[in-house]
């Protein structure tokens, strides 16, 4: 499984691998928002946690259909299915590789982009914490969506429609943590809810993803 992780990371950083795609998208969205909203620093400060979260979520969505589609096209998915790795392990590693190449860079770059949106000083820590806890859930849920739609031509749109509603709880509580943090309020309840959702999907969804993948490669 380590070999699979290393291979996926290596493929991601080589030409055409899509590493940085989500990051660039995130950057552009966040840079464009102040232009659209106008130079009202109070308003920007109020909406910045939500905008950063939406940007991160959409950036995550952008690269989801690559998780299994490439392996499906070149036949490696069939070969992985007959390899001694459990399918649950394969989907977990795929989700981890997606998070390392998409989610983690978003978490790291978010504080820098917070400056552009006039995020209040006390909000930076909680923004990073909420993204660090929430983005793994986005990758795992996205992997499930990708497993559901693998093998469908133009499955990307269908996958977005399937995955976005599943992202709602993570978005609500993640953005709530960031917002309350920025306003200097207590974040404990929202943080626990967000963490609970993340740990829940990380523990359970790989089984669902593996099951639908087995059906899809028939």
């Amino acid at each position: 499984m380590i070999a699979l992780l290393i291979r996926d990371l290596r493929l991601a950083v080589r030409a055409g691998g899509g590493f940085g795609l989500g990051l660039a998208f995130f950057l552009i969205v966040v840079v464009l928002v102040p232009f659209a909203v106008g130079p009202q620093t109070q308003l920007l400060a109020a909406i910045s946690p939500g905008v950063l979260w939406i940007g991160a979520l959409l950036a995550c969505l952008l690269s989801l259909d690559r998780i299994f589609a490439l392996d499906w096209e070149d036949g490696s998915l069939d070969l992985l299915a007959t390899a001694p790795l459990p399918m649950e392990g394969v989907v977990s590693v795929k989700a981890l590789a997606h998070w390392l190449t998409t989610g983690l860079p978003l978490v790291l770059v978010a504080p820098l982009l917070g400056v552009l949106l006039n995020l209040p000083v006390q909000g930076y820590g909680w923004l990073v914490v909420s993204l660090a806890i929430g983005t793994p859930a986005l990758s795992v849920i996205g992997t499930f969506g990708a497993a559901l739609t693998v093998g469908l031509k133009r499955g990307g749109l269908l996958m977005s429609l399937l995955v976005l509603p599943l992202y709602v709880p993570t978005l609500i509580f993640g953005a709530e943590v960031a917002r309350r943090g920025a306003d200097g309020l207590a974040v404990k309840t929202a943080l626990l809810m967000e963490a609970g959702i993340s740990f829940g999907v990380i523990a359970l969804l790989p089984f669902a993803s593996a099951a639908v993948l087995r059906i899809n490669i028939r």
Partner: protein
């Protein structure tokens, strides 16, 4: 030893072959024959465990099988050696150098797999079998896009595998030059038309 008993396989929810039985002992090769669409690929995928059988039993397969389908499962942006080394570590086996030698890929080992010709890709895909360390090779049209010299390399690899107590189940139309291979014609096992269970589409 791979034993298939009274197997029924389906494609798209319709039974395509039924009553298929054969045995594949260690050191033996079995060549599947049949016209296009007869169900050779479906049979091989079922034996490899990629899809469930409609009826019947397959024993001795599972973890013993190394499957190679129509696509080679290569990553264009990994080098020839990296592709093989990946599969070797997935299957927890070695032999990358031997596999490169057996399929005459040593001089190509640092090339990106995406820059190989179709025949060279195929050779790399077949070399992957040698790093799986698994006894039963299940091969679907292994010689597609290979030239005569490469077919000979492949036949040597299969013979070497059989000599080590392995076995091979292949669907192919050409003569591989492996005289000990038995031929199994799937034609007589064509399933009779009938209303299939249509709940398959909703599973």
């Amino acid at each position: 030893m791979l034993t298939v008993t009274d197997l029924c396989v389906a494609r798209g929810g319709l039974a395509i072959l039924e009553g298929v039985s054969f045995e594949l002992a260690a050191g033996r090769a079995l060549v599947l024959r049949g016209p296009n669409g007869a169900g050779k690929t479906t049979l091989l995928r079922t034996v490899a465990g990629l899809q469930p059988a409609e009826a019947g039993e397959i024993s001795g397969g599972g973890e013993a099988i190394a499957y190679a389908g129509h696509s080679d499962g290569l990553k264009a942006m990994l080098s020839v050696r990296e592709n093989l080394a990946f599969w070797a570590s997935v299957f927890d086996a070695g032999g990358v150098d031997d596999a490169l030698k057996a399929f005459d890929l040593v001089t190509l080992q640092d090339r990106m797999a995406g820059t190989l010709s179709a025949g060279q890709k195929r050779r790399l895909g077949l070399a992957r079998l040698m790093v799986t360390g698994r006894p039963i090779w299940v091969l679907d049209e292994p010689t597609v896009s290979l030239d005569a010299a490469s077919v000979a390399l492949f036949a040597d690899a299969v013979r070497g595998h059989l000599a080590q107590g392995g076995s091979a189940l292949m669907a192919t139309h050409i003569d591989l030059g492996i005289p000990e291979a038995e031929v199994f014609d799937v034609g007589p096992f064509k399933a009779k038309p009938r209303a299939a269970a249509m709940d398959e589409a909703f599973l």
